[in-house]
């Protein structure tokens, strides 16, 4: 194998159809940037799930004087009912599951509400008695919230049991859908990248049909004839995927870490380390895709 010759042939091919090569670079660049972004979004969702699920609590809301009569026939939960509920939380049956709990009274609930809705007109009309007193329960295993829900639903003095994770799940479902959409778009673009690579390689082979004919005549091996074409596709796609890797890394460094992380300091975001995990995978995917697409294209061209 004479590498100088092969490299010369690749350079020749790349120069001969510059515009096609540029479009291959751009399409692989954009499609792999989508793939990379989608992967990072998945990582981000994973991290947020870990973070928030661990902190998610189960709220046991007690009846107030304005609670609906069908769940709270006795109106405002009395101190006796309150004590009974607290006893149940301390009982040996529930104790092994509970990390800690605290009680929020009307006054604390009102202060929190005023803080959250400051400036909003509802803040003016709400009174402390309308807001639920609440037992906030942190579980040792947040996925076992079912136990609390089942133990307290329908208990006298309890208006509702609510797992915060149910709110989180809605957010995560939206993020998930977004990343699946990104993957879908990326898949379509990867298909067009593969088709574009095949077309480019076939054009390149057509413009070198004389050389190919002579090579076949004098007995060049199929591998030797095909290699420059396959490498031509691979070189173009590698440039595109390197650009995609660079784009993904800059998004992490400058947008996520440089902007989002400073705006939302208490959220954990994907780091440059995660980006460095995704980037080589993108380049590998680009090389694999182009090698398969151009190998397939040149083999089909030569068979005819």
């Amino acid at each position: 194998m004479r590498f100088g010759f092969v490299i010369g042939e690749i350079g020749h091919g790349l120069r001969r159809n510059v515009s096609m090569v540029i479009s291959v670079i751009l399409v692989t660049f954009i499609s792999l940037t989508f793939v990379g972004t989608a992967s990072l979004l998945q990582l981000q969702i994973g991290q947020m799930k870990n973070y928030w699920y661990d902190r998610a609590q189960v709220a046991v809301y007690l009846c107030t004087e304005v609670s609906p009569a069908d769940v709270c026939p006795q109106g405002e939960a009395s101190t006796d009912l309150q004590a009974a509920i607290e006893d149940k939380l301390k009982s040996p049956v529930l104790q092994p599951y509970i990390k800690e709990y605290f009680f929020e009274n009307h006054k604390q609930a009102y202060d929190k509400f005023q803080e959250q809705f400051a400036g909003n007109s509802v803040a003016k009309y709400v009174t402390p008695n309308q807001l639920n007193e609440t037992f906030w329960v942190s579980l040792k295993d947040p996925s076992k919230s079912q136990i609390i829900t089942e133990s307290f639903s329908g208990v006298a003095g309890v208006e509702e049991v609510r797992d915060q994770r149910s709110y989180l799940d809605q957010i995560f479902n939206i993020l998930n859908a977004a990343s699946i959409a990104a993957v879908g778009i990326a898949a379509l673009m990867l298909v067009s990248a593969a088709l574009l690579i095949s077309t480019t390689i076939r054009l390149s082979a057509f413009s070198r049909r004389r050389e190919i004919g002579i090579m076949r005549l004098v007995g060049a091996s199929n591998f030797y004839i095909q290699l420059p074409f396959i490498l031509e596709g691979v070189v173009a796609a590698t440039i595109g995927s390197a650009l995609a890797a660079g784009a993904v890394l800059s998004v992490v460094q400058f947008f996520v870490q440089g902007y989002l992380a400073t705006k939302l300091p208490f959220t954990s975001f994907v780091t440059l380390g995660d980006g460095l995990l995704v980037a080589p995978a993108l380049i590998a995917a680009g090389i694999l895709l182009s090698a398969v697409a151009s190998g397939f294209a040149i083999r089909r061209y030569l068979r005819i």
């Binding site: 004479r2 010759f5 002579i214 004098v218 007995g219 030797y224």
Partner: protein
């Protein structure tokens, strides 16, 4: 060296076979003219010997290879032992004479050292010393065909196939090419040349295989272009053809 047995070749979408039950044996060192009108099947037969195509039925053996059964990865290695030239030269217009010859060696993985030695040698042999750095467009037709011949023989093939190599050349230039082919043949290479140049065939008096409508019409030693009454017989099978060529034995 070359053995063709009961070969029929029918191209897709045609009603009449291009080759019809053709049998032919060519010995090592032979010089064979394949003659016949345009469309009689000469090129089709050559393509089978090159393994550019396979017969519809029958068998083709060249240099011990069964070309009907040869696995495709072995075809390139088979072709390295064979030289080919065509009427249209098939040179690369952007490469010089020397580069054209070197290209055929580069692509089969020969070392730079070998190429640097072999290319000037073969160019001298075909009478092109001093033109190594010309582009094909700067050469006459005869010179271009010499480049093609140089490329075909640089690897010292056992068999040289030439499909109408003088088809584009004037008679005087053709003479030069024929002299070269005879020298290549004398050096031990089996030569099969398709042509319908009557003057050349008549003058060289080599073995002549005449084709008509895809069949071998005549196979004769030391013959001219036209069938002569005295020493030619119509041929029906390759056995007969071999018997005949042996018994006529023009050049022992």
């Amino acid at each position: 060296m070359i053995r063709i047995e009961n070969v029929t070749k029918q191209y897709k979408g045609t009603s009449r076979p291009a080759l019809n039950n053709v049998s032919l044996e060519i010995e090592k060192g032979d010089f064979v003219f394949l003659v016949g009108a345009s469309g009689s099947g000469k090129s089709s037969l050559m393509r089978l010997m090159l393994r550019e195509d396979i017969p519809t039925s029958g068998s083709v053996h060249v240099m011990g290879e069964n070309l009907v059964a040869i696995p495709s990865r072995r075809i390139p290695f088979f072709r390295r032992k064979l030289g080919v030239v065509f009427q249209d030269f098939r040179l690369l217009p952007t490469k010089t004479v020397a580069q054209n010859v070197a290209f055929s060696l580069e692509v089969i993985g020969k070392s730079q050292g070998f190429i640097l030695e072999a290319v000037p040698d073969v160019l001298a042999m075909v009478g092109l010393e001093g033109k190594a750095d010309r582009l094909p467009g700067e050469l006459s037709g005869g010179e271009q065909q010499r480049v093609a011949l140089a490329r075909a023989i640089v690897n010292k093939p056992a068999v040289l196939l030439a499909d109408e190599p003088t088809g584009n050349l004037d008679p005087a230039t053709s003479e030069g090419i024929m002299a070269l082919l005879e020298r290549i043949n004398l050096a031990g290479t089996t030569v099969v040349m398709a042509t319908h140049d009557r003057g050349i065939v008549d003058r060289l008096q080599k073995r002549v295989v005449e084709m008509r409508d895809g069949e071998i019409f005549r196979d004769q030693r030391s013959a001219g272009y036209i069938k002569t009454q005295t020493d030619s017989h119509p041929v029906k099978s390759w056995n007969l053809a071999i018997d005949q060529s042996w018994s006529l034995g023009g050049d022992e």
